[in-house]
Amino acid sequence: MSRRVAVKTVLWGVVGALAVVTVARFWRGLGAVTNLSDAAPWGLWVAFDVMSGVALAAGGFTLAATVHIFHLKRFHAFARPAILTAFLGYTAVVVGLLYDLGLPWHIWHPILYPQDRSALFEVAMCVMLYLTVLAIEFAPVVLEHSLFDRPLLRGIHRWLEKYALVFIIAGIVLSTLHQSSLGSLFLIAPGRLNPLWYTPLLPVLYFVSAVGLGLMMVLTESNVSAWLFGHEVPSKARAGLGLAAAWVLLLYVALRLGDLALRGKLALAFAGTGAAGLFWFELSVTALVPMSLCFIRPVRESRVGLSLASGLTILGVVGYRFDTAIVAYARPAGASYFPSWMEIVVSLGIVSLAVLAFLFFTEHLHVFDEPPAAELPPPRPQPLSHRVLPRPLGWLRGYSLALVLGTTVAFALLPRRVLTPDLARPVPALKAMAVDGWMRARPDKLHDIGVLRPGEPVPLGATPAALLVLDGDRDWRRVIFPHAFHEWLVGPNGLRLRWRRGEAASLSSTASGEQSGRSGCATCHHANLPLERNSACASCHRDMFSTTDLFDHQAHVVALRGRDGCTRCHANSALPKTRATSTPCLHCHKNLRLADSYLKPKPTLTGLVPGYEQAMHGLCVECHRREVKEHPDRYPAQLATCATCHRAPEKSLMQRLEPYAAR
């Protein structure tokens, strides 16, 4: 009994985490919570919750057939738990689908807009109908309860029992269709599914493996309920199931290998590739090992042997679903998929809910052949506590604490993209402006902060360079941007910046990772992107107080001789210390200031700067022509000639301009 309480406590904890991820999923969308991408549109939720969930629920129809169609009454003890598991399993599948579908409120659309050429349409119809059939099959167990002892319900109950056979046969037909149609899903992708898995026989393979798995699932369920409730099932019945499963698995292996051989693909399985290794591993775990175990009589009559065999098959068949949906499915080079912890929590959470529901039903209804097992023994009649004090709240305190703990842990672990997704949203920018002037760089300061090596001269000449006033972060704040200085700073190879930071790897590990290995202008300008997308200033200059910030708080503390210096920037101690309440940088760094730094706005140039947002709205040559025409003194005439860029025709083709970033 304490085992059950422990298990339930853990399950409630997982359910708490599920609650948090659920809110995140439906509030922020699939991208914020999952690792799914255009390269991996289906992930854990499809492979596990939907495809494996359906497979794991196969015990229901397998047992229904065994007991009610083949009349093997020995196995009757399994029938009700198996149907309950199947019912909960299919409910879990539907719940999992609600998480996975992008527009879950359209889940009923297959009824409204049927499209019978789609394998997924067949799957959808089967889930829906079979879930209904399972509910009908399980309804009598619920209606037995004294709570539903009313004339009308009794009538329904009798009617259901009378026509049960119809529903059982319908369930078997639907399951057959459904298990196989999950395999049909991948028939459409011969080019993308690895040939070791792709075969026109996929539906058959899915069905046969599901039957084998279904038998093994029933064994596992009986094991687990023996562990939790102490229900023992006769070992003879168990061994019989094991033997049946072994024969089904043998059929599966024969089909799988025979199909490969007939299609002439068997050589691939011995090619020594990773896929071949995966194939054999999957096949061994699914069928080869458990089948061998179950064919040995002493093994299948022992609890350990059967548990091992059934556990392996379950792992293997789930692995088969994973392989077809994810692992063996081709993706563009470089794209990989591994589920995020939130995807895993959702999968585990749905299973936890299903298990809790299973335990609830077994505690309150006649599921096993024994009477329902109450969680707590009836309270001993104590004269004092009998009426004055209520029964204790039971394990509710523990469950609710686990729920709270699971919720809070998951909440604390939520990634930033869930809590503050606006950071990833594109925002419109202010128009850029240009001014003439230069920044009077102070060599001592540049040496101090490490931009210059000791003794190195200041790079900027005496001629005024164009200073841009731009909204580089697209945050509606314009800053003075000394373009020439940055040009020099990112250097021919961008090395100076890395040297200044003291570590070559820092550039690639920070937000500017996309520029690592690129050089010069391409650090910020990516000419092959439409609508002119520069790297934002913030990709190098991060927020204050962070390590990648150009503003070095610690350096200022040291430079201002420690404690008394705080008031130089944080003048009013009655205000919170934010960037808004601090003394502006220009207050001390007067060389950045307009009046002092020879920044002389030139009316003719103030306005829109070509090259910031507008430049890429035309072809390169359009601006080149205009600039040459307007400033013949500044640019050579060749700048407007096609051949300057599209040079030296080779093999009679036009040589094309290679933009920076594609290098």
Partner: protein
């Protein structure tokens, strides 16, 4: 230190804060449920609502106790006022909340916050000393009861130095780290220790009122339990 600070301010803070909110909510829900169960079992749903309300109010604002136990009650009131107001209405905290969630509310002037901070730290230490020095309270107290006022005072004291780095004997980052970590600890402990009185206090009067609702035949049951049914009361 930077990573530790980032962790203490980031995931650890989120965890402790959420645990505080949900943990306290859990206590309120469980208590409400228990109250209803007890009421159902006693078979007497009636409650002297007016008197209850007055008693609750009197315990929330224990001004009349001030006459009986002036020193203890006075210190306690000062301590609680500071502990409640300063963390919730400090301008810096509100600025942090505005940056993270966009939620803003009116703030205390920083000078007032400074005064309250000093007062509540002194009151916290005084509470500890009083508890230790009076025999009655000393014998009633468990180790945690001594530790809690000091623990609650710790983030408040370090917070003062974070606000005034010029007076800080150790260093801004170290102080900030201790401030954040101790505040995290207090939030974590709120639902687990008697700090839970922060939300349960208004309900205590209802509880004790219901506790005295005995079923009609309780007397005979007590007698039965003691095995003295025959004897006169």
């Amino acid at each position: 230190m930077t990573t530790l600070l980032a962790f203490a301010r980031g995931p650890l803070f989120l965890f402790c804060f959420a645990f505080m909110v949900l943990g306290l909510l859990r206590h309120v829900l469980l208590t409400t449920w228990e109250i209803r169960r007890v009421q159902r079992r006693a078979g007497d749903p009636s409650l002297p609502r007016k008197a209850l309300f007055r008693a609750t109010l009197r315990w929330l604002v224990p001004l009349d106790k001030l006459r009986e136990q002036t020193l203890f009650t006075g210190t306690s009131i000062l301590f609680h006022v500071g502990v409640l107001l300063v963390p919730l209405f400090l301008a810096g905290h509100i600025a942090l909340s505005a940056r993270g969630t966009g939620l803003k509310w009116p703030a205390l002037p920083n000078t007032a916050a400074d005064v309250l901070t000093i007062v509540s730290v002194i009151a916290g230490v005084a509470l500890f000393t009083l508890r230790l020095s009076l025999r009655a309270t000393r014998s009633l107290s468990r180790p945690l009861d001594f530790a809690l006022p000091l623990l609650v005072a710790l983030p408040i004291a370090t917070g003062f130095f974070v606000m005034h780095p010029a007076l800080d004997p150790f260093g801004f980052r170290a102080m900030l780290l201790v401030h954040v970590l101790s505040a995290d600890l207090v939030m974590l402990l709120m639902p687990l220790t008697k700090l839970v009185h922060a939300v349960l206090l208004p309900g205590t009067q209802v509880l004790s009122e219901i506790g005295w609702h005995w079923p009609a035949d309780s007397g005979s049951r007590v007698a039965a339990a003691l095995g003295k049914e025959e004897e006169p009361v």
